[in-house]
Amino acid sequence: MPGGGQCPDCGSTELVEDSHYSQSQLVCSDCGCVVTEGVLTTTFSDEGNLREVTYSRSTGENDGVSRSQQRGLRRVRDLCRVLQLPSTFEDTAVAYYQQAYRHSGIRAARLQKKEVLVGCCVLITCRQHNWPLTMGTICTLLYADLDVFSGTYMQIVKLLGLDVPSLCLADLVKTYCSSFKLFQASPSVPATYVEDKEKMMSRTLQLVELADETWLVTGRHPLPVITAAAFLAWQSLQPSHRLACSLARFCKVANVELPCPAPSRLQELVAVLLRMAEQLAWLRVLQLDKRSVVKHIGDLLQHRHTLVRKAFRDGPEGLEAGEEEEPREQCQGPGQGKEVARSPFGLPAGKRLAGPALLLPPCMLKPPKRVCPPPPVSTVTGDENISDSEIEQYLRTPQEVKDFEKAQAAREAAKSVSNPDVQAGQG
């Protein structure tokens, strides 16, 4: 109670500072009479000390909010600003955080979890607005573990009953490609490596769509696929100078981290392209391998829908359909065209598989690591007799017990000897 004010109406000394909007007033708590108002600072003492009071402290918005929650809300806003998200996202994310905080499980959670919760709220907001943000990015920004993040994320989605759409692949491609530092010459980027952003982005997008169609994306982390696609796109735009560059070097030049699965995704994508190349007559004669096919990616992408349909089949019946379709297909390209009937037996080198391959995810194409034998027929009823001998085999004989105890004691002694300071501390 500042000063020694008395209410003029009732004479009580119980004067309370209350802020009416941004105007601070001294109000008598007994009769409600406004004693003074219009003070430009919140408290007399502050005014007296000529100190500025922040907005958040002058309003009542944080009155009912605990300090950890306030901290969390601040972190949410900071994260949104760091990611340069639109302002509407900020409000949504804050709302989600507040909503989450109403649950007792979240209120009682560890600080680490609350920190991760900040990232979850931001991620959910971005997903709902189709803003491509990966969990990896958020974890890096929060210095959080992906396991902790995933646990909190699944929990909060279930708790709040939210409908979170999937990551939008096309937008992710655009964002990720823009982050490559290949679009301007610099000391680290040779002139031959510089590429036009639009061309590379469109080609990467086409390659990612191709990967999606041929089961290379389902069930996998999207980023390595995009990295591999970007690499292929970049190579194919100037193969003469870039074929020599490896994926790892490409990522280093582009100043982007190389994801672990990216090399295997690259191999899978190249295998798909090779299969498609077999369908084009003028490429078939060239007998492409995994490096030379890069030069023809442009052509392959131009006709990718047709080629995929012809190069792959869903089942055995697709084989005949594919064969039939061929003579009728219009194929742009010089040379023989479709008169060269693609006979599966006429392929020059025995390397390639005769006939269209099955369009399946790679996990189904690989032979199973171990064949699971069918479980043996068991006629157990659960109420059978249990023989004593069977149980005895699990029990130690008295001699064994003594030996075991001796061994344990010896081990304890050895441990205590090796930790003399511990012993001293205990002693």
Partner: protein, 501 residues
């Protein structure tokens, strides 16, 4: 009671199937009506004549030496019921590769109606049960209703109407004569040679185990008849039993009731399967209205093969059921040993135990047969994991309890309960998970950044399924086997929708 030879039964059915759907419906209704009227009055001269609501199936049953597995006819009495016959035929079809295509049976439009029949969780097991439903109800009725004729005789139909029916039936049977031999029905697995035979045989072994249990449990007199309505008299008992079975079957259309029905049916199946004669006898008991139970047909000796294999006729046609049975991979159960335990002593005296109090406050014990692991807590509670079937889990838990007993504790075996069951299977085609998460958003959660599979939380039954792009499905969270089967049957049509991109 007249018991017609199998050929005649098939002919009658053949004629029946050649009718258009609405005519078939009328036929069935008239059969049913006549059956109801004549129920319990006198012995029927012609075993084919429908004297019970179940007659069309009875026809087939009788005609084919009662080896014909027929789903509960009460379920789909009207045109739907035909579907099951068609199915039965199709089953035969599936089994006999030599037989030519049978468009007559395969293309019956009645089949689609079976979509609303009970697609229980335990479809496979239920098939076993249902096919012997005739036996089921009979065993429930108990011995008094059991009437066995001594002979198989043919006689002139007493009524004009019956004559017509007889002719019809004979025609049908004649038509069906070219179809698969009846025996193959018995031996046929449900799934047409798709490579899932091991699975089906597995489900059958489950049944075998149930059978043995039931065998042990014994007499019909111990069977609970409380489901029967109160106003039963001896004459009407049969009829009402049939009707109540009808109701039960209809109720079974909701999967939720499947599990309840399963056990009694399984018991009945067990009883039925144990002896071929019992099987036929029970068939007869179902149709007491015919007033003369079925006489064991000449094919009776062939019933014994029934014991060794074949799943029963499913209620839905082959094309609608998946033909895949999830395999149980893990069962978690708990039991209360009801005594305080000294974990240190247990760890000291038992070879197969490990105890690290700093890490975990329980003894981890393992036995070799069945290969399981148990967590034994000092309060006397125990968790047993790793068994592949419910019986194995129970046996393993008992073995652990016995070990604890031998170590000197007064261990008992209270409140054994199965807490979780995990099953897995393979649909053999790739699945577009992105599409699935779009259409079933409220149930699915697919985060490729976190986990390669889609997590599908089914509401009814309450099971969590992990669906992978390779087509492998893991089902978990079940308290009963039937829930796993039901969940898989529910998800299979959804997955089939995403088969092609």
């Amino acid at each position: 009671m007249i018991f017609l030879a199998e050929g005649m039964a098939k002919a009658a059915l053949g004629r029946y199937w050649r009718k258009s759907p609405d005519l078939r419906a009328k036929q069935l209704l008239s059969w049913r009506r006549s059956a109801v009227i004549a129920a319990g009055e006198r012995p029927l001269p012609c075993g084919l004549l429908p004297r019970s609501p179940l007659s069309p199936f009875l026809l087939v049953t009788r005609g084919l030496g009662a080896e014909f597995r027929v789903p509960s006819p009460a379920l789909h009495w009207v045109p739907g019921g035909c579907g099951s016959l068609a199915w039965a035929g199709a089953e035969a079809q599936g089994t006999d590769p030599r037989a030519p295509a049978r468009p007559l049976l395969a293309r019956t439009p009645a089949r689609p109606r079976l979509a609303n029949c009970a697609r229980g969780a335990d479809k496979r097991p239920v098939r076993h049960a249902r096919s012997l439903d005739l036996s089921c109800s009979s065993t429930r009725l108990g011995a008094p209703l059991f009437r066995l004729p001594a002979l198989l005789t043919l006689g002139p139909p007493p009524m004009e109407e019956e004559q017509a029916y007889l002719e019809l039936y004979l025609d049908q049977c004649a038509a069906q004569d070219d179809l698969a031999p009846p025996r193959s029905l018995l031996l046929s697995p449900v799934v047409p040679d798709d490579g899932y035979i091991p699975n089906t045989s597995n489900s059958e072994t489950v049944f075998n185990s149930h059978l043995e249990e039931v065998k042990a449990s014994g007499h019909f007199s111990s069977v609970d008849l409380s489901f029967l309505p109160d106003e039963l008299t001896q004459e009407n008992k049969d009829q009402s039993v049939i009707r109540s079975k009808q109701d039960i079957e209809e109720n079974c259309e909701t999967p939720g009731q499947q599990s309840r029905m399963l056990l009694p049916r399984e018991q009945d199946v067990g009883l039925g399967l144990i002896s071929g004669s019992t099987l036929l006898n029970s068939h007869s008991q179902v149709y007491p209205g015919d007033a003369d139970p079925v006489q064991p047909s000449p094919e009776k000796p062939n019933c014994t093969p029934l014991m060794s294999i074949t799943p029963m006729t499913p209620v839905t046609p082959v094309s609608e059921c998946s033909g895949i049975v999830p395999q149980l991979q893990n069962i978690v159960s708990t039991v209360n040993l009801a005594c305080k335990l000294d974990l240190k002593k247990i760890a000291l005296h038992a070879k197969n135990a490990e105890y690290n109090p700093k890490r975990f406050a329980a003894v981890i014990m393992r036995i070799r047969e069945p290969r399981t692991t148990a967590l034994i807590f000092s309060s006397g509670k125990m968790v047993c994991t790793g068994a592949k079937s419910e019986e194995q889990s129970r046996l393993a838990a008992r073995k652990y309890a016995r070990v604890v007993q031998k170590l000197g504790f007064p261990a008992r075996f209270l409140d054994f309960k199965i807490q979780n069951m995990v099953g897995s299977c393979d649909v053999r085609f790739p699945i577009r998970l992105e599409g699935l998460v779009l259409t079933h958003q409220q149930f699915s959660s697919y985060e490729p950044e976190l986990f390669p599979g889609l997590i599908y939380r089914m509401v009814k039954p309450r099971i969590v399924l992990l669906i992978f792009v390779s087509g492998k499905v893991v089902l978990t969270g079940a308290k009963e086997r039937s829930e796993i089967y039901e969940a898989f049957e529910n998800i299979y049509p959804i997955l089939k929708g995403f088969k092609k991109a």
